[in-house]
Symmetry: C2
Subunit: 447 residues, 2 copies
Amino acid sequence: MSQPSVSPFRVIDLIRKKRDGGTLSTAEIGYLVEGCTLGSIPDYQMAAWLMAVVLRGMTREETAALTHSMLHSGEVLDLSFLPAKKVDKHSTGGVGDKTSLVLAPLVAAGGLYVPMISGRGLGHTGGTLDKLESIPGFRVDLSVPEFHRVLKACGASMIGQTEKVAPADRKLYALRDVTGTVESPYLICASIMSKKLAEGTDALVLDVKTGSGAFMKKEEDAVFLAELMVETGELMGKQMVALITNMDQPLGRMVGNALEVQECIEVLHGGGPPDLRELCLHLAAWMFHLGGVAKTVAEGKQLSGEIIASGKAFERFRQMVELQGGDVSTIDDPSRLPSADYRVDVGSPSTGYVSAIDCEQVGTACVILGGGREKKEDSVDPAVGIVIHKKIGDKVAAGEPLCTIYCHSDAHAAHARKLLEESYTIAPTPPAHRPSLIHRVIHKGEH
Amino acid sequence: MSQPSVSPFRVIDLIRKKRDGGTLSTAEIGYLVEGCTLGSIPDYQMAAWLMAVVLRGMTREETAALTHSMLHSGEVLDLSFLPAKKVDKHSTGGVGDKTSLVLAPLVAAGGLYVPMISGRGLGHTGGTLDKLESIPGFRVDLSVPEFHRVLKACGASMIGQTEKVAPADRKLYALRDVTGTVESPYLICASIMSKKLAEGTDALVLDVKTGSGAFMKKEEDAVFLAELMVETGELMGKQMVALITNMDQPLGRMVGNALEVQECIEVLHGGGPPDLRELCLHLAAWMFHLGGVAKTVAEGKQLSGEIIASGKAFERFRQMVELQGGDVSTIDDPSRLPSADYRVDVGSPSTGYVSAIDCEQVGTACVILGGGREKKEDSVDPAVGIVIHKKIGDKVAAGEPLCTIYCHSDAHAAHARKLLEESYTIAPTPPAHRPSLIHRVIHKGEH
């Protein structure tokens, strides 16, 4: 004589099922995600389920079901009114990782649309929104109609996640953050993919970082996550590729928000450090290839170089900055970008070769200067940062600067300086190899 | 320049440590238990940690630290004023498992003190407090001074857990119940032992049930938990033994609160069904042995039989009932105990031998009659129950009653009857063995 139940499932049964290594159905996962988002399932039950997922894992189908439920917990943009393919890039985060600011205008200049919804920096990694906001006046909080207008006008727009996109992810991420359940490839995949697919993109190029400055220090973990994301995106009808790229040292030479914008402008003008330039060209090549503009990746790469050389990529960037309220005089003259005027060189303790850099520690040094966030609520100083002079394999004399700290006072620099000194390893002989930039490409089909 | 932290630990670090298979220190576990009890650590963090414990396990030292913290979260009784050793017995729960009502007066009559804090029935198993409360007037909610007075006067007292005993366990159990984290031997051990050790007992005999009516269906699981509890108790300075006993069929013949009191009175008068009598003698023997009254278990068993035969055990039971406000006329004449007057026989579908009984289902049938609880808030009917006529190995003719339902109406009996019919397996030939009552003894030292 039991009462007919309103809920199709009992949460406790779903927790137990995952705890015991079972597989949840799409409907069961949907029930959990909806209940969590609406608040009808208490946080302690979700926390227990999340920990069971961390320790038991998920099948591909469960991961896709989780991504799908989280995606459809909120608004999914419809960009079908745009007359060409929509492509985007997502990076798992690194130090000095600033390619988005180059890629969006570059790929837009090649005839595709880049609707880019980005995040803020957290922990040792920087965030695209923080970099953009170092351009005075630049607005990342466009409304959806404004986002549409900018996209239509210049082919690219870069904004922050709105409240309406994937609310389940916001709810779940906040809970994961305090319950030790962030570090699960299945949950990371669903979190990234639910937000990225809400942009209404047709194709997605993933830049999955590995090395001392990445979240995934081990390449095997990066590959596992990359394959999971590629398969999940494909199960959801998107064109996907993942590049496993090196993060054993900062990308480019600049770490810090305004400094990184300045370096992107160099690349858009045809210059910039070779590793940053190379990675941008390669990622853009894949975006052009998946977007149907280039038959091969090689062709896409050549096209990317041509677009930069023509000045069109820079022109698009300038246009986007203007449309989003930014002060273009700082783009035309990057010396007008915020820049801290107290400089401290970090000298090499000995003569030799840079054999390793603890890249996460470089990112942490930037956070300590005020250029990143320890907590979500922290504000960010656009003017501070670190300019890297020596990278892995470079020869250095005792006392010669390894890098320069941009900050506001000597006291301010002290802690960062210590971290930077510790992060460099100097050896008497050159390392056998310099790190290769692109370790692997994960893609189904020819390229 | 980080702020000096008030807390010695970060909860997130402790969750991650357990998630990654690490070992927590005594101080770390104490911090979690205290924070959970005081409410300073949110339930969602404890839930994640509990799930990590379920899937990663704990060392002996961690289990003892958890037990210790939970024990000292509340009041620990000091019974040092009593002039002899204090011993107790704890059972992990079964169907028809009523030995406590025999053991407390029996062992008290032998010169030891039995300060017994018991629980209520939940799910398919019965609870000592519910059985005692079927004696009209019997109070299980004595204050600590009243408990002391009864113990002093008759050597045994049986009460419920007060609010002041192990509040951490109440908090944690409520959370485990809704987060799928009940089924962990480490957490079960800490929960049982923290409550039992709060009684101020010197020695503890554990009756760990295994079989179709036990929580641990598999003997290996029962042995694992038993060893854990014995080692934990010993680490905390207590004399310990665990008996692994059979629960493949109800213990004795009676299932249901007043019916079970009646059967205990039979045993205290020197009668009762052989399995119940045998288990009571054996458990009492170990209590006498650990309490130093009997040099060997065999000697303890002989003593137990003599005390019953002398009528002293019954006399102590009668005295305890009187001291705790119970109507002794129902003890002197058990036909005055509550008894449902509608009886339904469950007949055998065929001629043959009872080869198996789904003992959990028999317990569930009793719950459905109103004799147990599905939810903590449910009230219990003392008058209903099941009288078992046929046990494993017994010969039975088609139509002959396997058991009899005691209830209030035919409608009332219907669901229970179906469960009982399904719970019996009748085979044409006798089973190879009847279940042996005591499978194993876990004890360090000679016996």
